[in-house]
Point group: D2
């Protein structure tokens, strides 16, 4: 794999943006290997993901952000993020007691499916330490008291660890705690949660039980970025599975597990590939 | 097709029910061609659908209901319905302005897919009269005023027609009016609606617009029996289709149409086949 | 809807193509409303669909093809097609005896879902004339003899009608005849068929029966362009539905009908929107 | 969980079978907790799965098989299998080099999702020994030479181990070797394979590559019992995922992994629950 630069941007739609950006890259001897764009006609916003090879590219990578800022971002009122494919993102995993999502994440990690580092796992329980040990990954436990009296303190310690380890994004792999606004602000649209329902149906606790009580014929799982409003952040991925009247809350939990882990992992894949743009509490997912 | 009797029942679960019912049919020379049952262990309720051929069956069909009542229903505290496969149910269709569900229902009817009679179509608008004429089916229009001042009167006229024509069940094929409690009580669990969302998400008006605003990645449609609570009746069938950030409310409406008509027709099929039992605001759908 | 030009092209991949094409449109005062592209890295082929508004565009529409040919097509070794969104394509439907696909196509047509003209229907049987009459569309019957002795003659008459009516593309809505090479050559990648299996499984006759005999748990339908090799043309769209051991060939036929009509109509939609490019017996489907 | 007996049977369809079997259980004070049956009307075969609690059941469990044989099996020409829910089946896993299915199986096993023992893993390569060690399960490697000269010898050793460890069924978790007829005969309909295509499409090697070359829009995975004909045994479970022209063989392999592991695990679940009957190279899957 050759080194590439990945530019994710959005700005008010205007004629000629694609031409200018592609010309800039081509003129500077960059070989474009990916281009996808989307225009929200309602709001008049232009979104783009463009990736080009850095071999032979005239502008040095450490100057690239500055050049883009000067040449385009200010002129077009762009919001942009620049990544390099050879800089592996660092991902932290938060878990509670259920193992299925954690195993799925770590199995992919171990198989080399993702270009990512996972320096540690955080939990509020000891239960899954054995899995961390199976995979030789440090496992930190900070138990949050039922009255939440130590929650601020725990999050402070977690934030220090996240910072020290240069964590880029967080995956909540069935972590059964609400993340405080402080942590969310430090990782805006960089905390990925899996909710075990087809959102916005069955927000909050015990969604499988809610689904069973309502008598739905299909259940779902939803992966989304965490925002300060519970289960209401930008949706990244959803999937569903058919059920029947023979199912009960217990069998729904079992069927749901497979959904949860697959949906969460698809969302993590898209995030690692830098194929997600968020705007107005929605996601643009480039393919 | 040979004539059969179809018995749908539920009662408190008790050992020996299946044995007794099957023995009753076999002893009286009935050949069982379908048996499916389900036990709700939570509530201890037994549900069954059993169908047998009437040729050679000793008990005459006009006495059958009485025998079942005497021999089993009172003893087991059963609720039951008895049908005969050669008695075609009579179905009324209610529409407003959208044609896709109506065409789908009538195309199946015309192709002989369903063993059903459709003596008329009711609407609150003239718009779809041309379809009724294409298929030579009487089309009645009762316009409901915006202030609903004539709603009671309209429903009275509709109820008279339904009664006069011996209608067994009603299909709301995107009928954009709320059915009053009186009509619902006359057709309990016999009015089938199609709601253009994956219930219980996006109850009420403009669900595709709601879905687009929430940024979901999958949209759905739900067919359910109408109860007095809006969009909250027993769900019969649901299905979904994947969407992307490129969709807007208009494209969702288009994609949703295909879902709506298929989901509604599947529900109607199950109803016509007498394969649905309702209990506690849920459906048991025999396969 | 404002008038637009739609350019579909493919050529050997080369740096700068996007820049040049978008610059050409922008420089000539065209407002780009759609751009999607795809690069086949294996074969080094660039594919693009670009659409722009013609209001204010400097080059007159009757000169546009010539300009593109001169400026780009020869230089880049491009294969391209140019369409105008206000020029409705003309579509012929071929049917045999089954009505479900025909009804679905005509219901959409009548509802104005498609920007298309359907000047006539061709069949080898009288069976569906009543539907053509319901929709006031001319219905031509040319019966092909079992020994195919008159097939060449029939196709000659059909070709004349297609030509006289300026038909742009043909939809085989469960037309149970093999199209001859001559007709295929006159409409390369412009004859859309629906095959009632998940191709390449169950090619040829009686696919539902084949599926039942094999004991599959899912059945499918496939819409593809017709080529001289049976059921082997470029696939446009596929979808599936779950079945169980309780299904038999008859119930598969019923379940399959819904698949067939939806899959066929999705393919027709993409074709009408000029969002399909074919290359090496595959399709690129722009979204 | 209370101890239960599970009876799986099939025989020529005859009036009164359900009555007799349920009466036998009820008369002997067994509480039926599960009953599902199916009649293949084509071939006139009756299939049933019935499960009842053994507490208070009059016939001792070690005599049960004999009683069923004497009372029913000979009279009705039944083929039957009797299981007890408290006797955990013993399952062997065969792997080659790919880890995703193995991790998925072991994660479920470790989480207690399945009532099963996994005494060892067999492989033809050392590659996945580290996973066996993570989960503390013995890992045996018998390398089969490219010319297959030692295949008979290897299978003999494997068969001895399977026998010694009282293995009830085998799961081929992407085991890239063909199983010989001898081993298949020892485990008829008890060797579960996962094939990475939607069978019967793309039998044999490199199915994702075949799928990509054909240009399908959906890929699948199939779990089936192994028979002597390659990829042609009774299908247990299938599922699919949508792809686009942007996919290449490598991305199909990645997308397929999730399908493979979920489909394989669903099949294993059904097998462990004794909910599968095989007949004429098809499966009846009770729900």
């Amino acid at each position: 794999m050759k080194p590439t630069a990945i530019l994710l941007l959005h700005c008010p739609d205007k004629q000629g943006i694609i031409t200018e950006v592609t010309k800039f890259i081509t003129d500077n001897k960059g070989n474009i290997v990916y281009l996808d764009q989307y225009v929200d006609r309602e709001d008049g916003i232009f979104f783009m993901r463009i990736e080009w090879e850095l071999d032979g590219f005239i502008i040095p990578r450490e100057k690239l952000e500055e050049y883009i800022q000067t040449l385009y971002a200010s002129r077009y009122n762009m919001t942009f993020n620049l990544y390099f494919n050879d800089k592996r993102p660092r991902m932290a995993i938060f878990v509670s007691k259920m193992s299925h999502c954690l195993y799925d994440l770590l199995a992919r990690y171990k198989a080399g499916e993702w270009d990512v580092d996972i320096p540690f796992i955080i939990s509020n329980h000891e239960d899954l330490r054995y899995i961390a040990e199976q995979f030789d990954i440090p496992y930190y436990v900070w138990q949050i008291k039922k009255d939440h009296s130590n929650k601020a303190e725990v999050e402070k310690a977690e934030m220090e660890l996240l910072k020290k380890e240069n964590i880029n994004f967080i995956v909540l792999a069935r972590y059964m705690q609400i993340i405080s606004d402080d942590m969310i602000k430090s990782y805006p649209n960089h905390i990925i949660n899996i909710h075990h329902s087809f959102l916005p149906a069955f927000i909050g606790a015990k969604p499988y039980h809610q689904a069973w009580q309502r008598g739905v014929k299909i259940i779902g799982a939803t992966s989304h970025y965490v925002t300060s409003e519970l289960d209401a952040g930008p949706i990244i991925e959803q999937d569903v599975v058919r059920i029947t009247h023979k199912d009960n809350p217990e069998s729904l939990v079992l069927k749901g597990r497979d959904l949860e882990k697959i949906v969460l992992s698809r969302a993590v894949t898209k995030h690692i590939e830098r194929k997600i743009l968020t705007y107005h509490n929605k996601t643009i997912i480039f393919s």
